[in-house]
């Protein structure tokens, strides 16, 4: 007897749908969105911190207190010479008028009337090696232009690093919370699913199904819901992050800074859906097996 080609479907053993599965989807989407945003913020902060710290490390600034007058130019030259003599300083240069203009433009507008303002002379100091001895610099300043200040940006560097570190910790926290919320929802959904399908589960067990077999039915369902939800959350977050990239590249950012995530960043961000899916999968499996054991 040659039977015609028979196709035997393998429908899911538990009827599909239901509020619990939708809840897993929605929670996973929302949690991924938030976690990805937090991660992206941390990555951006780290990028900024690294960039600025690097730039700041090689430059220091002297705000020279030099009174306007015929003597001003000579006094500035003397100060520059004195600074360049100090070991650890590679060079010193007073900012030109147009540079000052550019520096102040964000606050005073491009047409800032610098001549009418009591602006200090800004000296850009290029440091070398381990940098100059702060006391030596301050002594030179006191000698030639009292009231001047020296700023090696150390405070900025430290607080930038601190801020980036805090954001990173917050992002990990957000990720943990997202994973925890996903796990809690999935555990709830699994138990609801088990309760709604006791007749089917009993029948399968009586036919010789092992706990793992039953668990797989639910794992597949909830892991897929978590994954699709998480991908939606990632997509929504990505739209936001892309527009951030666009917004930044649309303006003249100093140093041609691009804040949109790099390929490496995208890889890191994409790990969030993977993490949530893995959490959903593991939680489902453990919940089902624990529940079946409890029922004996």
């Amino acid at each position: 007897m040659t039977a015609p080609q028979i196709v035997l479907k393998q429908s899911p053993l538990i009827p599909r749908g239901g509020a619990p599965a939708r809840l897993v989807f929605a929670t996973s989407a929302a949690m991924t969105f938030l976690a990805v945003c937090a991660l992206a913020a941390a990555l951006t902060a780290e990028k900024l911190a690294a960039l600025w710290t690097d730039q700041l490390a090689r430059v220091a600034t002297v705000t020279a207190e030099i009174a306007d007058g015929p003597d001003a130019r000579a006094q500035t030259t003397r100060l520059l010479a004195a600074l360049e003599e100090i070991p650890g300083i590679a060079g010193a240069r007073a900012l030109s008028e147009s540079e000052m203009q550019a520096l102040l433009a964000p606050w005073l507008g491009p047409e800032a009337p610098l001549d009418d303002l009591p602006t200090p002379v800004m000296i850009e100091v290029e440091t070398g090696g381990a940098g100059p001895d702060r006391a030596a610099v301050e002594a030179a300043l006191a000698r030639i232009a009292p009231g001047s200040t020296y700023d090696d940006h150390g405070r900025w560097r430290d607080s930038l690093a601190d801020a980036a570190g805090t954001l990173r910790a917050l992002a990990y926290g957000a990720l943990l919370i997202a994973a925890g919320a996903a796990a809690a929802t999935v555990a709830l959904a699994t138990n609801a699913g088990l309760a709604a399908n006791t007749a089917i589960i009993d029948a399968l067990l009586l036919m010789g199904a092992e706990d793992g077999f039953i668990a797989r039915v639910f794992e597949r369902r909830f892991a897929r819901r978590a994954l699709t939800g998480a991908l939606l959350g990632l997509a929504l977050a990505a739209i936001g992050l892309w527009s951030l990239g666009d917004a930044v590249s649309g303006t003249a950012t100093p140093g041609g800074l691009d804040l949109s995530p790099t390929t490496r960043d995208w890889v890191v961000l994409s790990l969030t859906p993977a993490l949530l899916t893995a959490v959903a999968w593991a939680t489902t499996r453990l919940s089902v097996i624990a529940a079946l054991r409890r029922r004996r």
Partner: protein, 222 residues
Amino acid sequence: MIELEGATFRYGGVEALTNVTLSMEQGAMAFLTGPSGAGKSTLMKLLYLSLTPTSGSVRLFGRDAAKLTRRERAHMRRRIGVVFQDFRLLDHLSVLENIALPLRIAGARPADYASDVTELAEWVGLGGRLNARPPELSGGEQQRIAIARAVIASPEIILADEPTGNVDPEIAARLMGLLLELNRLGKTVLVATHDLALVARLGAPTLRLEGGRLSQAGERAA
């Protein structure tokens, strides 16, 4: 193959089985009769490892059922085909998928069993309803799914609880014929039934339960 030793089962306060001892050799066939409420289904449930005796013991395939791990119990259940009195079909699956369940649970590939499943479904008279869902079928048709499902995976023991309660005499004879045929092939078969006429006609050893007590010890004759 099947051994009950002083098995008693109590549902809370109700004693459904009292001190039942029986044994069936491999390849034996017997009927289990008795009035409604006599404890037939309860005895079946002890044998398909759904219930554990309150006292006494159940031994299957030479092993004490109370001492099995979860995994061993699952594997032992696969060696037992059960026609449940209430069928326990999966309403959202088709006739074919329901019949194929034991094979699916055992991890077989659909391509390997599709034609066997279809053939058996046709043999029990469900050829025209292969893709119907159980709720769309009559009680008798559902019962035939249950029987086909119980035997599809070639279990060594077949336990049938009222397998012909809902079908007309012609189909009943046909289904009993299937169980007899499987018994001839070496399966151990125990059938609980009200249908004394059928039992008399087939002439297999009969165990009679009344008020939870076995009134005739059942030893299999050749």
